[in-house]
């Protein structure tokens, strides 16, 4: 279990401030945030690799705030692998065995098990220089887990990988966590990675925690406009609430429940928006007439911008549906969504 109490780390020109967080034993926790938000600093402070200015770090009930990293038994895996280039794969994996009071026979068995689990049998004699990205990351995982750590910290473990290897390592991480049941804490800026892997998520911005909750909770009920945007709510409008209605961009939308509009912001997921040529929306849909401004291919999907008065909505549509309806830029359409899909801040 990891428990952070008002963790503060001050660095030149940047600070992580008052981070309080609890990660349950065996949980897979993801720390999300944009680049430079302080995610890695939090991870490294748990590992003891940066000087903590204030607050308390506890792991499995033991206070480790000022314990040297070599006494913490916390594994760390970096996105750029950080494998020792002068050692072979097996030497890398066994690097830490001598420093802990391990039964050497059991340790050897553990290493063999990890080598097998991670499919490294054929490369144990090779040097890191001659490995692919996926192999390097699997070696990193084996090395960090060989000393039987209480916690495994993962610093953007998928970021530096090609898409093929990313999928492979994602599956490996899921498998490892399922089998070893130790606490995993992963840093990432990709919410889809967190959705796939993590039980719970913490969103961080400028060194401050914005929201902590289950992946579903964060996805469906973001606490503020920043989190909403971060988890993919691409339609964010300045708004004001009056008479059970919310007004934005010259449009009006009835509210499904009583809300307090503190920040004057409305947010809506692109996938909650439906487009129609003719107005055939049922009563439970809020709908507006608009014009398609832009259609941009975005991987498997197309991103469609629809202007309704001053508001420009973004929605997504798969290629097949787009072809079927023959939507083109400049077409007049009807845009609709259910009132429950709207988040107001």
């Amino acid at each position: 279990m990891i428990k952070l109490e008002q963790l503060t780390v001050k660095l030149p020109g940047f600070a992580v401030q008052d981070i309080s967080l609890q990660v349950a034993p065996g949980e897979f926790f993801a720390l999300l945030g944009p680049t430079g938000s302080g995610k890695t600093v939090i991870l490294e402070s748990i590992a003891g690799l940066v000087h903590v200015t204030g607050g308390v770090i506890r792991v499995d009930g033991k206070t480790i705030t000022h314990l040297p990293p070599e006494q913490r038994r916390i594994g760390i895996v970096y996105q750029d692998y950080a494998l020792f280039p002068h050692l072979t794969v097996m030497e890398n994996i066994c690097y830490g065995l001598r420093y802990f009071d391990l039964d050497m026979h059991q340790a050897r068995q553990r290493v063999d098990h990890l080598v097998e689990l991670l499919g490294l049998q054929n490369i144990t004699h090779r040097r890191p220089l001659h490995l692919s990205g996926g192999e390097k990351q699997r070696v990193c995982l084996a090395r960090a887990l060989s000393v039987n750590p209480s916690v495994l910290l993962l610093d953007e473990p998928l970021s530096a990988l090609d898409p093929n290897f990313r999928e492979e390592i994602r599956r490996v991480l899921k498998k490892l966590h399922g089998e070893l049941r130790i606490t995993f804490m992963m840093v990432t800026h990709d919410f889809s990675e967190a959705l796939y892997l993590a039980d719970r998520v913490g969103i961080i911005r400028n060194g401050r925690m914005e929201q902590v909750g289950s992946t579903e909770d964060i996805f469906l009920r973001p606490a503020n406009p920043f989190v909403a945007e971060f988890v993919g709510m691409k339609n964010i409008f300045a708004a004001c609430v009056a008479d059970q209605k919310i007004e934005f961009g010259g449009l009006s939308c009835p509210l499904s429940e009583q809300v307090i509009c503190k920040q004057g912001v409305l947010a809506l997921r692109p996938e909650d928006i439906v487009l129609q040529r003719e107005n055939g929306f049922s009563d439970d849909y809020v709908h507006y007439a608009g014009v398609i401004e832009q259609i941009v291919p975005a991987g498997l999907w197309h991103e469609i911008s629809v202007r309704c008065r001053e508001a420009c909505f973004k929605t997504i549509m798969d290629r097949k549906t787009l072809m079927m309806h023959r939507y083109n830029e400049g077409d007049a359409v009807y845009l609709g969504f259910q009132a429950e899909a709207v988040r107001v801040f």
């Binding site: 490294e44 590992a47 003891g48 690799l49 040297p68 990293p69 070599e70 913490r72 038994r73 916390i74 594994g75 760390i76 970096y78 750029d80 950080a82 020792f84 280039p85 002068h86 690097y95 830490g96 001598r98 420093y99 802990f100 040097r127 090395r143 960090a144 000393v147």
Partner: protein, 280 residues
């Protein structure tokens, strides 16, 4: 599949580039200056090495005074390099790994011995460790004689050679990613174990390069040594003495032998520092 026309086009483009580069005045200027620089270095040395007769070289190497001066030059330079390695490594590591107030000033101080004229170095050491200074008097009391002694020569050579070792070792440590050290520590290795198992194996070539540069600088030192310790004579001082007393003919063979000995020694050290096949 590229067509034949495309292939010939691509080939023509390559040949065209080649023709362009051969006709480029830039290439001629580069070649001319490169050749001039190499000749500037090689010609005087070749002249010196080729002028003495084999008989005079044979006679010189059997001269006990020459032998002892070359030996003194080599071993004092190696001791100076060893001292630089032992005492300089922690400072080089600290400078490579930490940012602190006054770091730039310390780096400038380290480079001072490179900039100061060599006789000034000798005078500075003489003024600090001579009989007129309390430190010199203290060293005299404990039996450490600096003036006119091997100890004095080593002190001078360490002084002039240290910046070369420190700068090379520092850049070696900087070339080792900090994350490797962090991972090592997370795997249970302390600071010292991390240094000896990760940092040192990845930077020893830079350190050896620094040792070679330090020793090379030390073996060539004359101006500072001649002030602190004229006797016992290191090879450059002996060459100077023979040149002033007997002329060019008697100083050249000593120089040739010093060059050959040093060349052999440094080539061996360079060979040791080459990366192995596995590392390449």
């Amino acid at each position: 599949m590229p067509t034949n026309q495309e292939k010939s086009g691509a080939a023509g483009e390559t040949a065209g580039n080649r023709r362009l580069s051969f006709g480029s005045p830039f290439l001629y200027v580069t070649f001319f200056f490169s050749a001039a620089v190499l000749l500037f270095i090689v010609m005087p040395l070749f002249q010196m090495v080729s002028q003495p007769s084999l008989a005079s070289l044979w006679e010189t190497i059997h001269d006990p005074e020459v032998l002892s001066s070359i030996w003194l030059s080599v071993y004092t330079a190696l001791i100076a390099a060893l001292i630089a390695f032992v005492v300089g490594t922690p400072l080089a590591y600290s400078l490579a790994r930490h940012d602190f107030f006054g770091k730039k000033l310390i780096e400038s101080i380290i480079d001072l011995p490179i900039m100061i004229p060599h006789p000034v170095v000798g005078i500075a050491i003489l003024s600090l460790l001579g009989r007129g200074h309390p430190l010199g008097q203290l060293m005299g009391k404990i039996g450490l004689r600096i003036m006119g002694s091997v100890t004095g020569i080593i002190v001078v050579l360490t002084f002039v050679g240290l910046p070369f070792y420190l700068n090379a070792a520092k850049s070696g440590f900087e070339s080792v990613p900090v994350r490797l050290e962090k991972v090592s520590r997370s795997l249970g290795a302390g600071r010292a174990a991390t240094f000896f198992r990760v940092t040192f194996p990845l930077s020893w070539r830079h350190m050896l390069g620094g040792v070679i540069m330090c020793a090379a600088r030390a073996v060539s030192e004359f101006g500072a040594v001649v002030i602190v310790a004229y006797h016992p004579m290191i090879a450059p001082v002996l060459m100077y003495e023979r040149f002033t007393a007997y002329g060019l003919k008697y100083s050249q063979p000593v120089g040739v032998w010093l060059i050959l000995v040093c060349l052999t020694l440094f080539m061996l050290l360079r060979l040791v520092s080459l990366p192995s096949k596995v590392e390449r």
